[in-house]
Structures are given as C-alpha cells and as structure tokens.
C-alpha cells in the first residue's frame, strides 16, 4: 500500500483560510483600508483601536485573520502557478515559495501580535 499523500492537510488549511477570508476580509478591508483612511466613515481614535488589539480576543482575532488566509493563498497560488505558468516540473521550488511564504508570514504575524504593547 503506497503511502497516502498529506495533501488533505494542505486542503484543510486552504478551506479554513478560504472561509476566514470570505467572511472576515471584506468588512476589515472596507473599514480599515478604505472607509477610515478616506474619511467615508469617522475613524475610531488611535487609543480605541489600540485598546481593541490589546484585548486577548482582539489578538486571537488578528492571529486567525492573518494566518489562515495566508495558507489559503499558498495552496491556491501554487496550483495557479502549476496550471497558469505550467511550471509543475519546478514543484519543489513552487511549494517552498508558497508554503514557506505562508509559514514565514505566520511567524511574522505571531511576532507582531506578541509585540503589541
């Protein structure tokens, strides 16, 4: 019996990331990166936002928001490179770039969140 692939793990991360991205990214993108900077909606004060992210639940929220979608990107982009640029023969390089990138991003996210004063 040949060894079963560990692809299911990557697929689960992709799916979880996809759900988080679908549910949470639109409102966060709209508020923090469009409505507030452009003045469409009155932005909360710096102090308010800081206190939000200092709260343990806020940190957990940010951790989920900044890690799972990266694995969603990694898996999807890997297959886009395979099928779009037809570079499946470079699969080791592609996998390292994609999943390695997601892992690095996760580490950076964890560090930045830990670093919140």
């Amino acid at each position: 019996m040949a060894k079963r692939s560990n692809e299911p793990l990557l697929w689960v991360l992709f799916s979880a990331g996809g759900v988080v991205a679908a549910l949470l990214i639109p409102v966060n993108l709209f508020l923090f990166f469009l409505a507030f900077p452009l003045g469409w909606i009155d932005a909360p004060t710096y102090e308010t936002l800081l206190s939000l992210i200092q709260h343990p639940l806020g940190k957990l929220y940010l951790l989920v928001l900044c890690t799972l979608p990266l694995f969603h990107w990694a898996h999807r982009f890997r297959y886009t490179l395979y099928d779009g640029l037809q570079i499946k023969h470079l699969d080791e390089l592609v996998n390292t770039f994609c999943y390695g990138g997601a892992i690095v991003g996760t580490a950076v996210a964890a560090y930045l969140i830990w670093r919140i004063p």
């Binding site: 759900v19 993108l29 469009l34």
Partner: protein
C-alpha cells in the same frame, strides 16, 4: 516500424498554450477567482503593517494613514475589495457542492446551504463593524 508498447505514444498532440485560460469565458472567470488569492495575501500584509503601526505609536499610525491615502494604494485596495468579494461569492456558491448535505433521504438544494453562509457573512460583518465603531 515502431515496436509495440502498452500505451503507445501515438497520435498527434498539441501542447496546451500558456494562454489556454483566455480561450473561454468560464476559464477566465476561473483564473480570476484563483488570482483573488493574491489580494487575500495583500490584505494580510497590509493588516500586519497596520498592527505594527498601531504598536509603534501615534506617529507611526498617522504615517500609515498617509500611506493608505496614496492614490495608488487606494486603487490597489479598491481592486482588492472587488476581488475579495468575488472570492466570497464564488466560495459560498461552490461550498454546497463539496458538502452534499442530505436530509430525509434527499439532497438539500444548494441554495439552502449557500443562503445561511451569506446570512452569516452579513451578521459577522455587522458584528465586526459594531465592535470597531462603537468607540
């Protein structure tokens, strides 16, 4: 004459073009859906920048706001929002296919699985907005 092989590599084959996805609108829609993942990654990068700016103090946060007001960044974020909403809609519409929920011996129609997802999206978005805006 060529020798016999079990799956003879006979026949004329054309290599698939790198631009195969431009051939049909459904293929293009598929590639656009897949490319939305790039804007997902961009959002994460931006959010990490925001966290760092907030942690670094009022000045850093103000500078980050300036960055966000740059027309190029604004355009990028508008495009990102479009792609990410496209991701959300295609995701919710396709999820029922993977789940194949059966109740009472019959398959539940896809729209009854997708519907609650959209409702959850609205509820969660409203909750986040309320938490952030209530001050």
């Amino acid at each position: 004459m060529a020798t016999y092989t079990e799956y003879p590599p006979r026949g004329y084959r054309v290599r698939m073009s790198t631009y195969w996805w431009l051939g049909k609108w459904p293929y293009l829609k598929f590639i656009l859906r897949e490319l939305s993942s790039i804007f997902v990654a961009w959002f994460v990068v931006e959010t990490l920048m925001l966290i760092k700016a907030l942690s670094d103090g009022l000045l850093a946060y103000a500078e980050f706001q300036q960055f966000l007001q740059n027309p190029i960044v604004v355009a990028l974020n508008v495009i990102s929002l479009c792609f990410i909403v496209f991701h959300t809609i295609t995701w919710f519409n396709l999820a029922p296919k993977a789940m194949a929920v059966r109740m009472g011996g019959k398959r539940v129609p896809d729209v009854l699985i997708a519907g609650p997802n959209y409702v959850a999206w609205v509820v969660v978005s409203a909750a986040v907005a309320w938490l952030v805006l209530r001050g």
